[in-house]
């Protein structure tokens, strides 16, 4: 079994060559392994363990965490709410961003300032934005309420009508507005970048053929913008699905769990039942993957973006 010095040397040189690239991609691979894959493994593992509220593993739970979760009366409402939340927020965001991107693509005085201003909701922390909206919606002194009161829309400050965040359905609508508000900058910029890749010649040709503005938008701009819209939608779906700070800061998922989405619900139940919280995370993780795969399938992603 003794290796000659020569073959050993050759082996070292060969493997050295083979693993040279690893030196470069290694850190990235390790980073992904440590901060992305490992937590997923831990999450799956935790979801089948019986863990005390103080973080002690009391043994295997088998499928108990999942069955407990399944029997949570709030679960189905939470999942439906999450679906509605994602669809509504992403749809409205894309729609508004298409219009905004079109606007910012025009030349007008002050465009540079306006483009900068659009970054503000993006640059501010989401938690801060949510807190500002919560105070602005305060039933007694909130600036939005005072404004609406002056307009005669809110009849009396401090009333149930002015208490927007106290009624679950209305609270959800307001939080969706905030979610759209914070998603707009990124989406608009993604679409704006897409718009700028459309060559002027295509429009010229369309104009020569006698297309009017609407026709040009629907037959030229939108089809050419498709890759940008797809990327923006996909990233928004993932982001909005996992929305936590907005709901947590504005209603904490209450009253009861009536405004909680899956992430907020997971956070609430992980406190007393860490294992069940992990099971909820697994479900959430699965849902995101299913949604993303479906989306990619439906949009024939590869053909579009390649």
């Amino acid at each position: 079994m003794a290796l000659t010095a020569l073959t050993a040397q050759r082996l070292v040189r060969r493997t050295g060559h083979a693993f040279a690239p690893l030196l470069w991609i290694g850190p990235a691979v390790a980073l992904i392994g440590v901060v992305v894959l490992w937590p997923v493994v831990v999450m799956f593992h935790a979801s089948v363990q019986h863990i005390s509220p103080d973080g002690f593993v009391l043994g295997s739970a088998g499928g108990k965490n999942y069955s407990n979760l399944w029997h949570e009366p709030a679960l189905s409402g939470v999942i439906w709410r999450t679906v509605i939340w994602v669809v509504a927020v992403v749809f409205v965001t894309i729609l508004l961003s298409l219009a905004l991107a079109q606007l910012f693509n025009q030349r007008f005085p002050g465009r540079r300032v306006a483009r900068w201003a659009l970054i503000a909701p993006w640059a501010a922390s989401v938690m801060m934005t949510a807190l500002i909206f919560r105070w602005a919606l305060d039933a007694n002194n909130g600036v939005i309420n005072i404004f609406l009161h002056d307009l005669g829309i809110v009849h009396k400050l401090g009333s149930s009508q002015a208490d927007w965040l106290g009624r679950p359905t209305v609270a959800l609508v307001w939080m969706m507005i905030v979610a759209v508000f914070v998603s707009l900058p990124f989406t608009t910029y993604a679409l704006l970048a897409g718009l700028q890749t459309i060559p002027e010649e295509v429009y010229e040709a369309a104009r020569m053929d006698g297309a009017n503005r609407w026709r040009m938008y629907f037959s030229v701009t939108l089809p050419l913008l498709r890759p940008a819209v797809l990327v923006a939608t996909l990233i928004n779906v993932i982001n909005v699905f996992n929305s936590f700070p907005i709901i947590w800061e504005m209603t904490r998922g209450g009253p009861g769990y009536d405004t909680a989405n899956t992430t907020v619900f997971m956070f609430i139940i992980k406190q007393p039942y860490p294992g069940e919280g992990a099971a909820m995370s697994v479900i959430n993780f699965g849902l995101v993957i299913v949604v993303v795969v479906l989306f990619l399938r439906l949009t024939r992603w590869k053909e579009q973006v390649d």
Binding site: L23, A30, V34, D54, D163, G254, I268, P272, Y273
Partner: protein, 419 residues
């Protein structure tokens, strides 16, 4: 060949870890390395009782920590304060992740004692007998006291005399019927009749105050869970009626004590259950003078409560970092009467030691509250209380809009299930 892959990956992982840990440096350094060279850092995590930067608890504890450090140069106390809304969650997260503090001051749960995480009171106090005996049971597990009361308070009913006289009411509310008619009269004048904080901050306290008024509680006399008892269902049904008549603030299930106390201080609420800690908020609000409000025993179904809810916030000492001797030194120091009294004056709360109570017994503000303490009713000391309390905070508020019986039954089954 295999080795080289492993070394390469390990090396890269180390680089990645070093890179990613840059941003989160600090924090845990005192944890294990604390003992080197005889110098020890104690990690103290306390709830913030302040209403703003001026009276933040960080200041109070830092003051003690500095005085202590002067006398014990080898021990440094690192103070962290957390606002009340997040205190339980954050401390529990620290513990779930095994990043143990040495000392906590705020809510205490007997499950920490059950898990064997804590030093007992006699391990870390030279004179544990000085702690108020009435709270000993709540801090005890299997007959040994682990939770050491640091500050206490008792609850009374505050009402706004100005709003009362404007609504033509002449006497203090004593029964639920009084509360109902008075609240309706105040509401008719355009203000909020009764402030009912059933949101996630402290729903468990507000609910218990009402349960007590109907002879109910979370547990029955034998210590069995009785959250969905007939009395409690009746109590929540009464509250539901109060809410649907519009005699409270809108949507009480989403409203927190802190916010409603501020509204009471602004003169917009007729009645609210409060503790002495409400007094400085009223004074800072500037809308009510001392003669505009008063506090009386809490109204029950047929008459005022003879024993109110006594709440104590506890100190707990964690074993994980093995700092018993240092913790004992610090706690003996921090429990001196002068610091107890300083705390009580700062936040209008009550002392938790016999010697400090005696020193304050004749005080005009604290005297009456102190007198009520020995009969005080307390939260369950059960190990599943932490879990039950979280559920109460999140769901109890829905009992006044939904079906009281089913909400309370769900809580009862949570309590019975344990953790």
């Amino acid at each position: 060949m295999k080795r080289s892959i492993i070394t390469a990956i390990a090396g890269a992982a180390a680089v990645a870890l070093a890179l990613s840990s840059c941003s989160s440096s600090g924090g845990d350094k005192g944890n294990n390395g604390g003992k080197s060279g005889g110098a020890v850092t104690l990690k103290l995590v306390a709830a913030d009782y302040g209403t703003g930067p001026a009276n933040a608890s960080q200041k109070y504890w830092q003051g003690i920590a500095d005085d202590f450090h002067k006398q014990n140069p080898t021990i440094t106390v690192k103070v962290t304060t957390i606002n009340w809304n997040d205190f339980d969650t954050q401390v529990q997260t620290l513990i779930q992740n095994h990043q143990y503090p040495d000392i906590t001051e705020g809510d205490y749960f007997s499950n920490y004692a059950q898990e064997g995480l804590l030093y007992s009171a006699s391990d870390v106090l030279s004179n544990p007998g000085n702690l108020l005996p009435v709270f000993a049971k709540q801090g005890s597990y299997n007959g040994t006291q682990y939770g050491m009361p640091f500050t206490t308070s008792s609850r009374t009913l505050f009402y706004n005399k100005k709003l009362f006289s404007a609504a033509g009411i002449t006497s203090a509310p004593q029964t639920w019927a009084d509360v109902q008619t008075d609240a309706a009269a105040i509401k008719a004048k355009g203000d909020i009749g009764f402030g009912l904080p059933l949101g996630s901050e402290e729903a468990q306290a507000e609910a218990l105050l009402w349960f007590l008024g109907n002879g109910g509680n979370y547990q029955d006399a034998s210590g069995k869970w009785a959250i969905d008892s007939a009395q409690n269902v009746e109590t929540m049904t009464f509250l539901k009626g109060l809410v649907s008549a519009g005699d409270t603030e809108p949507n009480p299930g989403t409203k927190n004590r802190t916010d409603l106390w501020k509204q009471f201080a602004a003169g917009k609420i007729g009645m609210i259950n409060g503790s002495p800690a409400l007094i400085p908020i009223i004074q800072a609000g500037g809308a009510l003078t001392d003669s505009d409000w008063t506090s009386v025993p809490i109204a029950g179904k047929t008459g005022p409560l003879s024993s109110t809810l006594g709440v104590c916030d506890n100190v707990a000492a964690f074993k994980a970092n093995k700092h018993q001797a240092e913790i004992k030194k610090f706690l003996d120091f921090a429990y001196q009467d002068k610091y107890q009294i300083q705390f009580d004056k700062e936040y209008d709360l009550l002392p938790a030691t016999t010697s400090a109570s005696n020193a304050l017994a004749s005080d005009p503000i604290f005297g009456p509250f102190l007198k009520a303490l020995p009969q005080a009713v307390q939260y369950p000391s059960d190990t599943s209380w932490a879990t039950v309390k979280t559920q109460i905070q999140h769901t109890l508020g829905t009992a006044v809009t939904g079906d009281p019986k089913s909400v309370l039954s769900a809580l009862q089954s949570t309590a019975k299930k344990g953790s």
